[in-house]
């Protein structure tokens, strides 16, 4: 049973929707790196924030008036994907549409604010308005409510590979439940200084305003945003393979796990483009070794050096990019590409591709991959 991407949506530091984001990536734009406000302990980090105006429309929804950025991002991307598919919600489809969210740190701004109140003012002063928005499934709940979904709404939590797992989860739902027409899969994440500092303790976040992919693994810069795909039973862009992913228990095992996931995935031949998760951390080297072994001539595009590492959103952003690349037969150039991977695509160019491989090596010991296949030319 094969399922297809019927709509792609996004809101990123480079665009208020998918079309703007794709155009900016193809023009070689890089998201503005802005220092986080209010750093603690004198430690400064940069991030790639989504401009507030990009989510202003979502923030006008009454249901979202008190919700955190993560929910606004998720809603904006979700509705963009629905618009891309030409889909409009109607009450007749309330139990025929499922919502699946992928998150990593989820509502970290509200969580930090809520806990800050506990620590600095005492538990009796903590705001009951903040707490509900700290739960992992708050964003999914809001989007389900906005769409009038009364059936299935799931939130999957994981590292930066979780978006691929969420797509697989959606394929499981569609396989098992014939009454479902489609599944809206959304990955969403907001940036916060706390996250950058936490990652810095593992040398995975840099204090600089630039980072290199497939070069010196000096740490990443966090982005934020959301990506969404509407997965249905027909369409021209098929999810040819997906997986729940594989764990690796230590860095030593990461390469074998990646080899197992990336190397044996394509069922119908070698992919013609790869959209990778390279982000300036240990993950780059894991991917580099496997790509060099299995796909030495396949061009690799790494979007995180343009958009930043958006964790729960990032794998779905990669899928969105792969989908756009196949639709438009064009592959953007990787910014800040180091010397270690020969096959990295450095300049935006036309490509003739019908299959794309999307890979993810997560910071928390998960690897995953999926294949997209263009069933027929959209033109």
């Amino acid at each position: 049973m094969t399922f297809s991407i019927q709509g792609i949506g996004a809101v990123t530091p480079l665009g208020s929707n998918g079309a703007e984001t794709w155009s900016a990536l193809c023009r070689g734009e890089q998201a503005t790196r802005t220092p986080f406000a209010k750093p603690l302990a004198g430690r400064h980090y940069f991030s790639c924030p989504v401009p507030a105006k990009f989510i202003a429309a979502a923030a006008r929804q009454p249901r979202l008036r008190r919700s955190g950025t993560i929910s606004l991002l998720g809603a904006a991307a979700g509705f963009d994907a629905l618009a891309d598919a030409g889909w409009s919600p109607d009450h007749g489809s309330s139990d025929r549409t499922a919502v699946v969210f992928a998150v990593c740190s989820s509502g970290i701004n509200y969580t930090r604010r809520f806990y800050h109140e506990i620590v600095t003012q005492g538990a009796h002063s903590a705001s009951p308005l903040l707490f509900p928005e700290t739960v992992y499934n708050a964003a999914a709940s809001h989007v389900a409510a906005l769409l009038g979904v009364n059936g299935q709404s799931y939130t999957l939590v994981g590292d930066s590979s979780v978006g691929l797992g969420a797509i697989h989860f959606a394929t499981e739902l569609l396989t098992m439940q014939p009454q479902l027409d489609c599944c809206l899969v959304v990955g969403t994440e907001e940036a916060d200084w706390l996250l950058a500092d936490a990652f810095a303790s593992w040398r995975m976040a840099t204090t600089q305003d630039q980072f290199e992919v497939y070069g010196r693994a000096g740490g990443t810069i966090f982005g934020e945003g959301a990506a969404a795909i509407l997965l249905g039973r027909s369409g021209t862009l098929a999810v040819a393979n997906s997986s729940a992913g594989l764990p690796f228990h230590s860095y030593r095992n990461s390469e074998s796990a990646a080899r197992e996931m990336f190397g044996h995935l394509p069922a119908e031949g070698i992919p013609e483009i790869i959209v990778s998760s390279a982000n300036g951390t240990f993950a780059d080297e894991v991917e580099r070794k496997v790509f060099s072994e299995f796909y030495p001539a396949v061009p690799v595009y790494a979007p995180k050096s343009s958009l930043g590492e958006a964790l729960g959103a990032s794998a779905l952003l990669q899928v969105a990019v792969a989908g756009w690349a196949l639709r438009h037969q064009k592959l953007p150039g990787t910014l800040g590409a180091g010397p270690k991977l020969q096959s990295v695509n450095r300049q935006t160019r036309s490509c003739s591709a019908s299959q794309a491989l999307v890979t993810a090596v997560g910071f928390n010991h998960q690897v995953n991959a999926l294949n997209l296949r263009l069933a027929e030319s959209p033109y």
């Binding site: 992992y136 939590v157 706390l194």
Partner: protein
């Protein structure tokens, strides 16, 4: 991905539970039979400024043997210890089952390490332990540790659907086996108590300074709990091939999303009612066939009113209890622990009690199993979970 035309029977072949009522399944069973109260004063963080000061907690000494002693084990989150012990018991009781996938529910994961990290930051303390705290706070890390400890290297799906997470995890595992996408899945939930969530429920005035009294007319709110439980679900074919013994059969799963409000259920009861109806359809049984309902029963005014209406409307005079009365609300693990309790109730043919119960609420028809357990003939039991965000999940388990 290809399903099958004729659905599989889904059998429970392994069970592991760690909760404030016991460090293993047998101890939990004895506590359920005796109506043990596992709630006590909170010891792991300051509660001087909260209204509620109690929770169901697992003593640290119960978790000591989860990992071999050593430097690495010391760093691991207690959520990893709970999950590892429950997983070990589930795998051992399944006697040779080979799970292909793990589906886990949780809401907070290793959140308390995130709290320590932030307190260290604010206090300007050294970053010496930062990497350890950060590395172990994510919801997936304790599960990775538990899998590694138990020699399993399998894909994992971590679901965080608030308080229905554990039931969702078992329900999804059930569907995968039923439809032939997997032969054997380990599924359940884990939830360690943490300050942020404790204060969160306190700030909403959902937590009570009194005893937790689900379905009592004078109920005043919930107390939190913690724990972990895992079930091994296998297709009948897989069970037959390896000559395993089934403990129970999962026959139904239903979900609904109540979009009324992020933290309050629709008072009409439509959310849980829809989940229960869908589970009954899934199990191909009528509501009259249900012998016992293990209710979500948090003892908040809103939850019990909503769930009470739904159970009453659908199942009439059925026997109902909330085992949260004994151990508190274990959030993302609650559905898994309560599903495990349902398996125990079916195997031992008894009704777990709803302790601290004084006065029935006349609005409902069902019979609350007040304060002491009872022997009963049980064939089908139903377990409800209701969560923030309007997530509702119902499981139906059958005697084999």
């Amino acid at each position: 991905m290809q399903g099958i035309d004729r659905p599989n029977r889904v059998l429970v072949t392994g069970l592991g539970v760690v909760s404030p009522l016991g460090a293993n399944t047998k101890a939990n069973l004895l506590s359920l039979l005796s109506g043990q109260d596992g709630v006590g004063p909170v010891g792991s963080f300051d509660v001087t400024k909260t209204r509620c000061k109690t929770a169901g907690q697992i003593p640290d000494e119960w978790l000591e043997n989860a990992f071999p002693p050593g430097r690495v084990a010391k760093r691991l989150h207690r959520g990893a210890r709970m999950a590892s012990l429950a997983l070990r018991e589930a795998c051992e009781s399944a006697k040779g089952a080979k799970p292909e996938l793990m589906v886990v529910g949780t809401t907070g994961g290793g959140m308390s390490y995130g709290e320590f990290f932030y307190r260290h930051l604010l206090a300007g303390q050294s970053r010496k332990n930062s990497a350890q705290l950060v590395g172990n706070y994510t919801p997936q890390k304790p599960i990775q540790d538990a899998l590694e400890r138990n020699g399993l290297r399998i894909p994992t799906q971590i679901l965080s659907n608030a308080c229905s997470s554990g039931s969702n995890a078992i329900g999804h595992g059930f569907e995968l086996v039923k439809h032939g996408l997997r032969h054997c899945v380990v599924c359940g939930g884990y939830e360690p108590l943490c300050e942020l969530v404790f204060v969160g429920f306190d700030s909403l005035q959902a937590a009570t300074p009194e005893r937790i009294r689900p379905f009592d007319k004078m109920r005043t709110g919930l107390v939190l709990g913690e724990g972990a439980a895992f079930l091994i679900l296998e297709s009948e074919k897989s069970v037959a091939q390896r000559g395993a013994v089934a403990m129970a059969e999962v026959t139904g799963y239903g979900v609904s999303t109540d979009t009324y409000h992020l933290t309050q259920p629709d008072p009409s009861g439509i959310g849980p009612k829809l989940a229960m109806q869908r589970a009954l359809v899934s199990a191909k049984v009528e509501a009259e066939a249900i012998d016992y309902v293990n209710a979500h029963g948090t003892a908040t005014v809103f939850n019990d009113a909503t769930e009470g209406v739904a159970i009453s409307d659908l199942c009439g005079e059925v026997a109902v209890s909330s085992t949260k009365s004994m151990m508190g609300h274990a959030l993302g693990a609650a559905g898994a622990i309560e599903a495990a309790f349902c398996v125990l109730a079916l195997r031992e043919q008894f009704l777990p009690p709803n302790i601290n119960f004084n006065e029935p609420d006349p609005s409902w028809k069902f019979v609350v199993i007040a304060n002491t357990s009872r022997s009963a003939r049980l064939s089908h039991v139903l377990s409800n979970s209701i969560g923030f965000g309007g997530t509702n999940a119902t499981l139906i388990v059958k005697q084999v």
